[in-house]
């Protein structure tokens, strides 16, 4: 189901970093492999199209700068998501200072806040639009967990990326599933 890159792929910058071409090639392969998930992440964090592009560029820039510190301490996928989420969280907090809309936790989000049209037949694009609206109402940490869950990452990976305890991630995912079931009328899967 997952279209994200294989989490077992471990790349070593130490092995690849050398003057010029090889380390550049590493960045370019990472940028190519993670283009789609990072674009989705930027879209989930920022509703405005132009700001999405800015956020995406900031993520790539941070990624480029961070790769030399990678050193095989986790999978490349974990590393990329961690860097991307750090940048996105900063972006959200910066945007929050400009805007007045209140961010809420998974527990506090009200379904009425999202422009639901219960009972109507809705196509995938509208489902995704509603999902984006829902995600953009959440606080950064909850936003991070829901995005990683939607990207198909395991609880272990989410815990590692978000820096949360596994039990905490499990609780959050349970609440996310409840929230999604309430919002979209589906069944809650364990």
């Amino acid at each position: 189901m997952s279209t994200t890159p294989d989490s077992s792929v471990i790349l070593s910058l130490d092995a690849h970093a050398g003057p010029g071409a090889e380390s550049d090639a590493l960045f370019e392969s990472v940028a190519r492999d993670f283009a789609a998930p990072l674009t989705r992440l930027a879209r989930a964090h920022e509703a405005d199209g132009a700001l999405q592009q800015d956020l995406l560029q900031e993520i790539y820039l941070a990624l480029w700068r961070s790769l030399p510190a990678f050193k095989n301490r986790c999978s490349m996928r974990t590393w990329v998501y961690r860097v991307a989420h750090n940048v996105a969280a900063t972006h959200v907090l910066r945007a929050k200072r400009r805007k007045t809309n209140q961010l809420v936790t998974l527990d506090d989000v009200e379904i009425a806040d999202v422009s639901t049209e219960a009972g109507e037949a809705i196509d995938e694009a509208r489902t995704l639009a509603r999902l984006m609206q829902l995600i953009q109402r959440l606080k950064p940490i909850d936003r991070e967990v829901i995005i990683l869950h939607l990207e198909g990452l395991s609880r272990d990976e989410i815990a590692e990326i978000a820096g949360l305890a596994l039990s905490n991630v499990a609780i959050k995912i349970h609440r996310i599933k409840q929230l999604l079931a309430r919002s979209f009328g589906g069944r809650e899967n364990s």
Binding site: M1, A17, E28, L61, T127, E151, F184, G185, R187
Partner: protein, 193 residues
């Protein structure tokens, strides 16, 4: 329509495949922006120094007829040139090598941030001592060579110097904080594993 969690995941992962292509050219351009900002800032520093010298020398007829004023201005001009040379040595923008890879580019960027932070930090300690003899001499000249003593001018001159030094110290402290934040951000990004 009821949408299960799995369906949402699938829908989520199918979207947005118009991902833009980001390459190293863009990233290098971004890093060059930092270099360009430094070059522009330094150009303003040099132009400011030259403008100040020209402004003082525009009063040449006043200066050349008063020996102490002449010595004071000469010392001040030499100090200004010395400070500009020192600033260029410590804080000029250094172009990165064309073939820098990821690791080298990161190290270069951090190195440049540290260089700029160190150049700006306590900069006043490096420019105030060379300036002091010329300024003191100009003050003495105002007491000795101008009659009656121009108290208003002396007070205005002293106020301007105190204001200038204070603003420079405050502004440099702000710039040091900004450089340090960027260095910390780079370091923390690398340490979060």
């Amino acid at each position: 329509m009821n949408v299960s969690s799995e369906n949402l995941q699938q829908a989520w992962q199918r979207q947005a495949l118009d991902a833009p292509r980001i390459n190293l050219t863009y990233l290098r351009h971004h890093t060059e922006r930092f270099q360009r900002r430094i070059r522009i800032r330094n150009a303003f520093e040099y132009l400011g120094g030259i403008a100040a010298i020209l402004l003082v020398l525009s009063r040449w007829s006043y200066i050349q007829s008063r020996p102490l004023t002449f010595i004071g201005v000469a010392l001040w001009v030499l100090a200004t040139i010395y400070i500009m040379v020192q600033w260029h040595r410590r804080a000029s923008a250094q172009p990165p090598a064309e073939q820098l890879g990821t690791l080298d580019a990161l190290q270069f960027y951090r190195q440049q941030l540290v260089r700029q932070r160190d150049a700006v930090r306590d900069h006043w300690r490096r420019w105030l001592p060379p300036m002091a003899p010329g300024l003191v001499m100009v003050f003495i000249a105002l007491f000795v060579e101008v009659q009656p003593i121009p108290w208003t001018k002396i007070l205005a001159f002293a106020t301007w110097i105190v204001f200038g030094v204070t603003m420079a110290v405050v502004n440099n402290a702000r710039r040091v904080r900004a450089f340090q934040q960027e260095i910390d951000a780079l370091d923390s990004m690398g340490n979060k594993t």
